[in-house]
Symmetry: C2
């Protein structure tokens, strides 16, 4: 049975979107649709152009016998701007204020649309880096880490504050939580990370950077390499920051409990990230 171009395009789009960064040989599609490679090639040109024009991503073509195409998730600058602006306004809602100036963010972290957008932006920020694994810390970093991992198609390892019987042998370190200067413990299953792995650290919130600095130190115990650091929110603070090379989507500038005001601005995303899809020229 032959497949028409229209069906091929729909299925191919789904297939590639589900497998970011996976090399798919042209022959795979040719067999799947019982079609000539030349037709598949034309299909892929259409998919690539539409993905680029619509701010979805791009297709990388690897030539030769071992070649094929790879879907790389990317964003265009305007869309990234508008997603980040939206995150800022959602965060500035004074109903988030909790005693002590803490912010209620649980709804954020549990909303798959928001989490997937955050993951898409963080993945796009590190699209040109070689990344083997994403590391985060339980509990609130997990959704964002997993969403980022979906777009980069790499596994997530989860650092915990206590060791569980279901983790097997673990490596633990002590770290100083930056803002409270409290000594805490961080534990990671030994099996979960191989030596030399290139690791992207992802978390929901960074103040002085104590927790992230702890993860950096934990990686040293595994002889693993920090490939990048990405956070949803960085927070303004008076102490010296323990981490300096990171990408943040938004920045919490001020929490005024008395006036019930929260001030959130764009993070350093656009000064750190340089690769965006070109806007469509209509």
């Amino acid at each position: 049975m032959k497949f028409r171009r229209s069906e091929r395009l729909v299925d191919m789009t789904h297939y590639l979107l589900e497998r970011p960064r996976v090399l798919v040989p042209l022959s795979f599609f040719a067999e799947r649709y019982n079609s000539a490679k030349s037709s598949i090639s034309e299909d892929l040109t259409i998919v690539k152009q539409t993905f680029e024009n619509r701010g979805i991503g791009t297709l990388q073509t690897i030539p030769g016998a071992a070649g094929g195409v790879k879907f790389i998730s990317m964003v265009n600058k305007n869309e990234a701007k508008s997603i980040i602006q939206n995150l800022c306004s959602l965060m500035e809602n004074p109903e988030r204020l909790l005693p002590g100036g803490y912010l209620y963010m649980t709804d954020f972290i549990g909303n798959p649309q928001i989490v997937n957008e955050v993951g898409r932006l963080l993945a796009a920020a590190f699209a040109d880096r070689e990344i083997d694994t994403i590391m985060t810390v339980a509990t609130k970093g997990i959704p964002i880490a997993l969403a980022t991992a979906t777009y980069l198609n790499v596994p997530v390892v989860i650092v915990r504050n206590d060791s569980k019987v279901t983790e097997g042998p673990t490596v633990s370190i002590n770290y100083v939580s930056g803002s409270q200067k409290r000594i805490q413990t961080m534990v990671l299953s030994k099996k979960s990370l191989r030596e030399g792995a290139k690791v992207l650290i992802v978390d929901d919130f960074m103040k002085a950077g104590g927790t992230i600095n702890g993860m950096v130190n934990l990686l040293k115990e595994f002889n693993a390499i920090v490939a990048g650091i990405g956070v949803l929110v960085e927070s303004e603070h008076s102490q010296e920051r323990l981490v300096d090379d990171y990408v943040s989507l938004v920045k919490l500038i001020d929490v005024d409990v008395k006036e019930q005001q929260i001030k959130v601005i764009e993070g350093n995303y656009f000064s750190k990230v340089t690769q965006f899809l070109e806007e469509e020229t209509v």
Copy 2:
């Protein structure tokens, strides 16, 4: 600028896949592509047929002025079978054995491809139910809950064993962990769930069902309704099960530490789930 059908199909496929269960009016697509509604209608027929033939899902058409299309993620039976078979063999790997007969599952829970497949199957199992929210318990339930939530397009609320300052006011209950008969505490942020919400409970592992039963009781405190229960793994056990109406993907039958053998079979998925996409008749 007009868009050709081929571009429309690629973009429409992406747009719908990103927004499961969202009603998209035909007029939205007509404007987006500067095309006649009749052409959009034809496009959607192609997308629907390809989604159904390829085991991706279906498009529901809601007629009338307030109408449009909704993408519903579904699976066909053969694909579900093969995903579940694959989960069984991955779990039977004797390297997972830990002292005390526990199984190392951390790699599962951190692998986005596996987690998204599990989420897709669980979402498909409850595709015909009305669901407002997914509830899970930290830490290991989170990835699966979030993946399921992505396909059902509903938020996730995360129950914890301790209350955090960033959660605001909480409701807590005590529950008996089924297999160890230990009294534990379960805490949920008050803000995170509204009265009368229809809640799908999702977790990675269920033995006697103590934790899930705890979540059922916690929902009563919120006057919320259990819309369903879905787990990745159910485990054979000797005590009376505290939960009886649930969907499981796989069932852990036996862990033989001495012989280094783990036995895992299909869960009750195919006896509980009745709605599948028709196989393509080639």
